[in-house]
Subunit: 329 residues, 2 copies
Amino acid sequence: MPKSLDVVAIGNAIVDVIARIDEAFLTTHGVERGAMTLIDAERAQSLYAAMPPGVEVSGGSAGNTAAGLAALGGRAGYVGKVRDDVLGQVFSHDITAQGVRFDTAPAMDGPPTARCLVLVTPDAQRSMNTYLGACVNLTPEDVDPAAISEAQVVYLEGYLWDPPQAKEAFLKAAKIAHESGGKVALSLSDPFCVGRHRAEFLELVRHHVDILFANEQEIVSLFEAKDFDEALQKVRFEVETAALTRSERGSVVVHRDEVHILDAEKATRVVDTTGAGDLYAAGFLYGYTQGKDAATCGRLGGLCAAEIISHIGARPEVDLKKLVATQLG
Amino acid sequence: MPKSLDVVAIGNAIVDVIARIDEAFLTTHGVERGAMTLIDAERAQSLYAAMPPGVEVSGGSAGNTAAGLAALGGRAGYVGKVRDDVLGQVFSHDITAQGVRFDTAPAMDGPPTARCLVLVTPDAQRSMNTYLGACVNLTPEDVDPAAISEAQVVYLEGYLWDPPQAKEAFLKAAKIAHESGGKVALSLSDPFCVGRHRAEFLELVRHHVDILFANEQEIVSLFEAKDFDEALQKVRFEVETAALTRSERGSVVVHRDEVHILDAEKATRVVDTTGAGDLYAAGFLYGYTQGKDAATCGRLGGLCAAEIISHIGARPEVDLKKLVATQLG
């Protein structure tokens, strides 16, 4: 029976608070450059107080991917936990207005909606500081078997491994997806996240994942490889499809026996790299669920990533459908 | 029976005359930038007269590869035609002194030993102007079946397709190699050379070549592909082994089902790119004939290429054995 959704993404539902800062700010406030660092409520308060004026944009890695997929014309759903507060309403409004199906019930008590303080240095690099808030209350009960089994692909962000209960929701969704003939996709999210959960991620990749997204640092860390090629040789035999992004070196897509080397799209400008990996995944999965070949999927991913890094925020600002039209011929 | 040689290389035996010039020289004298252009005796005279003082270094693409292989400790032979003149003696002395077996009888009459006027611009790019001279007299009689059948690999430069008789020598050598259990390697040499002989090169690659060396421009030209990845998908099914060089992007090595992506060695400096491809092939074939895996062969090639571009001329200036020792463990 044909599926009514292309992709259901499951992730930490987060509102980004983005501000441009100088290098000195990172040092003064002890922020780890280029990483995603988990912070508690107190640190979130003090860091936010110190930040210059920012912009609030709905984010969250898998949320960005779902929004990108919908912007491309794909049928997307999202599962993630917000609180019934103002930021939670903002998150729900934005993702729904983008055309993404989002039915997860908000938490009525407990910590507030998650926020990520994104500090963008002049080189366009983003350093992220995440207060998980309500995300820690995502549980297997939030995963609706009917919605999952309606999707061609269930997409899971590696960051979900940080809140303790969410991994059970993750495994439940993977099981339902496979039982209903769908594919399971995983993004490794962040090299530090891989470092925190390496053994469990290897187990996941080997036994539950069909499509793996990772950047160079993440895949090298996962296999504790000496370089990219060594990691490439290992991942080929672990998953059916792997899309490995390499920043200005483009991406490498492995699909069964195929290996594609796709050079980077020339970005017109690089303003803020937040969401590059998320939108690469959106473009790739759009192609994948439309039945495109592996090389075309990788090229679509590269086009979407080039758009997202040309401005502040990880949700697209131009008509992605038009942008990718030439690749879809 | 074990072979007594690792590689026999067959090519145009050429002495390089290398001079540094400015960009204006290329325009004034109508030299095609970055290419290998064939010139006649008269043009060779007039261009040489206009050139600033240069250095003479034995060269020739396959000659450079044979010399590099010997410098690495490999057992190399060379087949190529010089005249019995001073430049011919220089060529024979240099390649023999490097430890390469070179028995081809010099021509006793006809045109003089070939020379290549190599013009190096400040960006280290070389524009080559080749007067083939005595090379046009290389014939199948110069290919000694005993010597060819003694080699693990017969290495042929694509430039050999320019002098009309040499291609017969080339095909004879390929046939002997296969009959005696050896492998046939081909370097595509130059994108313009591929353009001149595309149909014949495709036929060769499909039916006679086991190991193909090409840079990105050459392999894209061979298959008239739209980009590197499209060419990569085609070459995978045509040869057992392909080593594709991409300048600062490193190289891609395809060997049966394997695809390796090897990042470039960091060159300490780039002075003259003459011979980069030749020395990549030397390093690769040294590893290959020592039974190393495909990724190690590619890394050895990259190391040797990085050495050769750090100085004038296409013959190594440092102890290559020491240079590659770390890769050979």
